[in-house]
């Protein structure tokens, strides 16, 4: 019926012979490969994701058999992408992971336990800031290696501080609040004295500074009605009510750095990434007119979050040895120093700070001091969900939608519900 594509004449031997020869050649070529190159997939987030490529190249140069394929993901999508990849079975070999997410992925049995490798290669674990190491060392084991540290400190305009009549940053809440009031008044006349981060971290940090435990009963209940957390939330709401801090930062304030440069905003809480942003965006005239300071606490220097990212290896990896090689690469002090130079992200090892960074970079003094006073978050897998509700209720209270006590009562109720399964499952994950 149709056309038969090949005529009988085409059934000659020539094509067959050609095919066989080619096959043999391919086989010989394959035999000459020294070893199969290992392909590692590596996920990095945010700015570091974009800037880490040159370091990866030097890794590949040092390990000829390993090729790293880097994927960058924006921070806003990172958590969701990781979880979705877990569900869809598409996790990479190695990834950066926020410290607060570590307990969850460990509970999901998605991570490789790293103690044997750390011991085998004799990694100097005492060199790491202890607050940071604590976030990776879970009761079940060591599940990540800190990649960089992140904490929240105060960024401020030094000239505006002087103008307000202060030589140094106050160390107590009371003193600090007085300063904030001075900043919105003449002669400084900033539109807002302080911008906090538009997420759950400010309230949680204030709570930690008051000594609140956030969760009770070994992480099985909410403990937000506790007097200490209540004081923290009240302080936060007070700052917003007094118009020292803008509400819902995203819409009221324009570009944070823009306003900081224009003197409309005198201070803000942020992390190390803002160092890079400020250096990139501020005009030269303002380059030295800002500094960082550790956070003031209720009665003295306060604690801050032990944040940061770690590197983890996922259990579904097929190249465990190579994956560990990549993780170990980042633990080397020289590499950490280079990483800092490229991205502005702060190294988790004290030796790197002492050797290289602090001498040159006075503007990081705030971080150096704060890193000795950091607290980890409760290591429960449900943290992200709980944090989202904390954020919601903090905003609801600050905007006047809910009263303080009612908000805390409801928050406790919701958190209790979130932790319900945790209470039911009394076993320790394998």
């Amino acid at each position: 019926m149709g056309d038969w594509p090949y005529s009988r004449a085409a059934y000659s031997q020539a094509p067959l012979v050609r095919a066989v020869v080619l096959f043999c050649l391919a086989g010989i070529a394959a035999c000459h490969e020294p070893e199969q190159t290992v392909q590692l997939t590596f996920w990095a987030f945010g700015r570091e994701g974009a800037q880490v490529a040159p370091l990866l190249e030097s890794f590949e140069a040092a390990h000829p058999g390993i090729q790293v394929s880097l994927q960058q993901i924006p921070w806003s999508a990172a958590y969701e992408k990781l979880v979705t990849a877990y569900v869809g079975g598409q996790l990479p070999d190695v990834a950066q992971i926020g410290n607060s997410w570590l307990p969850q992925f460990a509970a999901l049995q998605a991570l490789v336990e790293l103690t044997p490798w750390v011991v085998r290669d004799r990694l100097d674990t005492a060199d790491y800031f202890s607050g940071i190491w604590a976030t990776n060392r879970l009761p079940q084991g060591l599940y990540g290696l800190p990649w960089y540290v992140d904490t929240r400190v105060l960024f401020y305009r030094t000239d505006l501080l002087k103008q307000a009549g202060y030589a140094t940053m106050p160390q107590t809440w009371a003193g600090w609040e007085r300063l904030l009031h001075r900043l919105v008044a003449p002669p400084v006349n900033a539109r807002f004295a302080l911008a906090l981060l538009p997420d759950w971290s400010p309230v949680v940090i204030l709570g930690l500074q008051q000594g609140a435990t956030l969760l009770g009963g070994n992480g099985r209940y909410g403990n937000f009605r506790d007097e200490r957390f209540r004081r923290a939330l009240a302080f936060y709401v007070h700052l917003v009510d007094a118009r020292l801090v803008p509400r819902s930062g995203a819409t009221q304030l324009g570009n944070l750095y823009h306003e900081f440069a224009r003197g409309q905003l005198a201070m803000f809480w942020s992390g190390p990434w803002s160092v890079g942003e400020l250096r990139a965006r501020l005009p030269d005239s303002l380059a030295l007119r800002w500094a960082t300071a550790p956070l003031p606490g209720p009665e003295g220097p306060g604690v801050s979050l032990a944040g940061g990212s770690s590197l983890v290896i996922f259990r579904n990896t097929r190249n465990l040895e190579a994956a560990w090689a990549l993780v170990r690469f980042w633990a080397q002090p020289e590499v950490q120093l280079q990483f800092y130079r490229l991205t502005g992200n702060l190294p988790p090892r004290r030796s790197v700070w002492q050797q290289a960074i602090l001498q040159r970079d006075q503007q990081l003094e705030g971080f150096w001091q704060q890193l000795e006073r950091i607290e980890p978050l409760p290591a429960v897998p449900e943290w992200e969900a709980i944090a989202a509700r904390i954020h919601y209720y903090a905003e609801a209270t600050a905007s006047g939608l809910l009263g303080l006590d009612e908000a805390l009562a409801r928050l406790d109720q919701e958190v209790d519900r979130i932790l319900e399964k945790r209470r039911r499952i009394a076993t320790v994950p394998r």
Partner: protein, 292 residues
């Protein structure tokens, strides 16, 4: 007899692919969703499938006790009620306006008003997000021009939902307009002639001829629009992420968040079924109006 056998065989082959898809990807999941809603399927089930438990109607109970569910329900119903009403009114008004005898280039006007309907919801949501920007948006520019103070459309819990409704009306009225125009053109002239001979004014003609004739179509358009609005998702997802403070949290958005962000699949399935029942109820009510 022989032919009916071959016809049956042919029918099987013809129907098999389409029916297989409908069965596998429509009926089966609907059934599975019901079963899912009776379990405590969540993220940890992926780690330990054996720990999955049958919990009966517990998800539904949790749903009813969840303040966010009620908030989402309220928001969605407001969206349907207010948004639906506004959409229908605008569409009807515009259709009647175009239908006036002196208006020329009817097809052109119709095309213009229909344009937003074929656009991608995500893309227009992004455009509107900037139109409604508190400082750099045209909406507040227009307000300033009229001498009114600016509104933080997407940041103020009181204005966020109305802002989304405004956008939805803009996008969807063209579709209902089309239906109404076609229906208007189908009303026979004799009815109007008879009314005019009885001395009816323009308004009376509208009230006693046009609107009754349009009632089934209005009900139909209402049904389609309401069903669409019950499932509103992309607008809050793109523009406000359900905020501020859950002011624009809708049922499908809550479903997506619980199901695909927190992976509480059992809970989300229960939510899906509640929404389903709601849709059925609404459809039935409006269908009866359409039929009468």
């Amino acid at each position: 007899m022989k032919r009916s056998w071959t016809e049956l065989r042919a029918a099987t082959w013809f129907l098999a692919p389409a029916l297989a898809v409908v069965l596998l990807f429509l009926f089966l999941p609907a059934l599975a969703a019901w079963m899912l809603s009776l379990t405590d399927f969540d993220l940890y089930t992926f780690a330990e499938p054996a720990a999955l438990r049958w919990v009966g109607l517990r998800n539904y109970l949790a749903l009813l006790q969840d303040g966010r569910f009620w908030k989402a329900l309220q928001n969605t119903l407001i969206f349907v009620g207010l948004g639906g009403l506004l959409t229908l009114c605008l569409a009807l008004g515009a259709a009647l306006w175009i239908h006036q005898r002196f208006v020329r280039w009817k097809a052109f006007w119709r095309m213009v008003y229909f344009a937003p309907v074929v656009t991608s919801l995500v893309a227009v949501a992004i455009v509107w997000r900037y139109l409604l920007h508190a400082r750099y948006g045209l909406a507040n520019q227009a307000l300033a021009w009229l001498g009114l103070p600016p509104i933080d459309w997407l940041g103020d819990p009181q204005w966020a939902l109305p802002a989304l409704i405004l956008m939805a009306v803009w996008k969807n009225y063209g579709y209902d307009l089309l239906i109404f125009l076609a229906a208007l053109q189908a009303i026979p002239e004799e009815l109007y002639d008879a009314a005019r001979m009885d001395g009816a004014s323009v308004w009376q003609q509208l009230r006693y001829v046009t609107l009754p004739a349009l009632r089934p179509m209005i009900a139909l358009a209402g049904l389609i629009t309401a069903n669409g609005y019950l499932q509103v998702f992309a607008e809050p997802y793109v523009m406000t992420q359900g905020g501020p403070l859950d002011a624009t949290l809708t049922l499908v958005l809550l479903l997506y968040e619980q199901g695909f962000r927190w992976w509480r699949l059992g809970y989300a399935a229960a939510l899906a079924f509640v929404l389903f029942v709601l849709m059925l109820g609404l459809s039935w009510m409006l269908w009866r109006q359409h039929r009468s």
